[in-house]
Amino acid sequence: MTVKATAHHPAAHGEHAHSDVDYLHEKTTVLSWIVTLDHKRLGILYLASTLLMFFIGGIFALLVRTELLLPGRTIMGPHEYNQAFSLHGAIMVFLFIIPSIPGALGNFFLPIMLGAKDVAFPRLNLLSYYIYVLGAAVAIFSLIDGAVDTGWTFYTPYSQTTSASVIAMTLAAFILGFSSILTGVNFIATVHKLRAPGLHWKRLPLFVWGTYATAVIQVLATPVLAITLLLLMMEKVLSVGIFDPRLGGDPVLFQHFFWFYSHPAVYIMILPGMAIVNEIIATFSRRKIFGYMFVAMSSVALALLGFLVWGHHMFVAGMSEYATMVFSALTFLVAIPSGVKVFNWTATLYNGSISFQSPMLYGLGFIVLFTIGGLTGLFLGTLSVDVHLHDTYFVVAHFHYVMVGGTVIGFVGGLHYWWPKMTGKLYDERLAKIAFMLVFTGFNMTFLTQFVLGSQGMPRRYYDYLDHFQPLHGFSSAGSYVLGLGFMIMAVMFAMSLFRGKKSPPNPWGSAGFEWATSSPPIMHNFHHTPVIDRGPYDYHLATEEELWDGFPEELEASAHDAPAHVSKLGRDVSDEVSTKRAVVEGVAPSASDESAGANEGEESSDEGSESDHDGDQDEDGDDEEASDESKKPSDEEE
């Protein structure tokens, strides 16, 4: 990628004379945040909101696991437990997983990866965020109002007989759906209309492909949820018989409607996670994703197949045997694009140059956990075996491997990966690795155990259980505490980074991805001038040494000038390339503005530097990201 000047550049430069200031410092008033139209700030707002919801949902998860630590009453009564697991599910699904990656990381990086200044409809983007906030507020209200106890699925007729807060919670999900739809519309338009010159579809970063496929599902499937929940509310408030057999309705119809949205929603959740993993694996292997078009198309295939398999949630629900046959067969087809992704990620590592910094640990962890999640799906897609496993802990474990082991691990990996770009700060790599080990270990302790619980016949959504399930439940709960501890350490690590992290160079991981070409944090308009894309985001063999430089631009310049026989991290003598590259860039205005930006950054970095000198802990692994020739060494040590 070249951040070349466009023909009309000088005029553009004149207009944006102030735009060297990064997006965090452009304006700092509270008002400038709450009415911002900037996709990056909205990404940060989404990030903060969804992380808060993740925290609340996580508290409910730990309450549920604590209740299940021992048989009988442990810390709460049966109805309270039903509320706890319902809220865990509803908050995690509707308020965290679905909006998290598209809303936070998608908003932030999709336009930058496309070389655009913003999304196609910035005001719609702001509206979408406030609809999300409204939905969250209604959900919190339902919590205070006497929380739902229906599970996140609101199955009828139980949801028609239980407390009134079902209306508040379904209303929240209804509102949140619109936020999701607006984000989807915005992303589709952005990808179609705002790609930088030279960024044709075969060069699109795979994160964009994944987010695009997600957006298509959001736009097509979410209205069905809205209709379903509206019908549910109509029945509950107006007693119009739709789902309740006492009013002449059909409870199984609700399940069809619900899963017609909620199965595609599973792909709304997992596709962005997969999309992030593509970026991580490419960056830390320094290699183009193997079978790029197959991986891109597999996202589209998953998005389309996702619409055809909702019936596999209902194999024992009283559907026709022939319908189950069709749904089972279609369900197995989902394994194909999922397998294609996993095979290609593994093949990408081959002949790569792999480093094991924290985002890559999450990337590799994702492959392991998603593989387990995917393979256990085979048991559930098989009709006769599903009869035994349906609605047991096997299902709970399976979807947590996909949703947490997949989406959350992908999201957290993406957060580590892009954190320096979003905040302009580096974090303590050692703490990050400790947190990863705890999260990975705790997660497997919690959920691997649940596969066995489920195949032994332990049903899900049980407040209490027979004594012989206790050892496995106890171990699973212990694992959830390890998992919780891992997330707490991660939170501390990120908080430390915010307050005293070292300043990040523009490209700390040495990635060829487009988003790393701008400064960290990005300037208000992302790029000084619309970039012209002349290679793919993973073409490490085409990227110049300057583009892969994981240090501060001024240091590259210094080393290029001061050390004629400079040897790059890649072990080649690149002095010629660097000077050639600089010759290409020379004379065009961006380099001039880059220099002024560089000077600006230089001042800041000296401030930061003096702060971080006091912090000896961070230095060892901090070297990883630090702009120096030594950056290749720590990864060797990790072997």
Partner: protein, 353 residues
Amino acid sequence: MEEEYLDATIQMPEQASTLAPMVDSLYYDIFWISVVFFVAIVGAMVWFAVQFRRRPGVTSKPPGHHNALELFWTFSPLILLAYMFHEGFLGFMHMSVPPADSINVRVHAKQWHWEFEYPNGATEAELWVPEHQPVRLIMGSQDVLHSFFVPALRVKRDIVPGMYTSLWFEPTRRGVHDIFCTEYCGANPANDALSAEALNVNGRPQESAGHSGMLSRLHIVSRAEWNEHVNDLIAKPEDLTWPQWGEQLFGSSGCPACHVVQPGAAHTTGPNLANVVGYPQPLEGGGEAAADIEYMRRSLREPQADIVRTFTTASMPAQTMHEVQLDAIVAYLASISDRGQPVVQQVETLHAE
């Protein structure tokens, strides 16, 4: 014959039906296929990660085009997938078609209680079946969704209000197995106040715990034992009086979950049933009913017909038990009313022979 059916393993509970070995063998096929894929993928990942770790002087190589490889791993798994789908579907169809010589047992599911009705009309809260006899369960729900699940049989089917669902199995081993409800069916908020001892007795969750307490047992016995058991259900035990037998049935039918029987005690979900028989009952919608034997029978069979005033929020499930069992419960309720003696005598003379 018995050797085919395995004891519990680490992954699976013991096999107690003819369906179990079929399900398990496919389960283990998929398990080993998964293990092979997992080891291959993660093994390759670890190997590549170590082999191609970042080293000075070594750069990554850009991937070329490998359409053949891509097509290979896109389409070759279809063979295994087709095998799993096919076997699973055959098994499912086998589970869906009950043999012609099955006996029918009706299952009535209600929050949070099971009731099983045998061909002779007798009902009870635990299911007894004769071994090597195909049994078909015809299931209905009186309130919300439930699901009948016996891990040892490898059968499960949702029970949907407003329609009948069914499943069948042929039990193969004598013994006692657990029956679970696997479709979430809620809990009574009022029961949060109950003590730990009331929610779980001797390691078994109670019906007051809601969904997780909707537990029962499956007894697989010899045919002779089964015949005797089913007939005994509708014959008053000789050592008990009618009210005593009724008290037993009152307990085993789940009535105490909603009704207290201490005179003067505050009512719970349903009315306090002490001193009801023989006293006029104020009805919802006006009027009174004399609580005679006919009224009591009707209140059990059709609880929504004459609702005692103010008890409109919770709906009592209809009792589908045999009429002899029903009369025993009426006799019990009469015996705990100071005006109930005539009704007790009425029941005794009615079933005198």
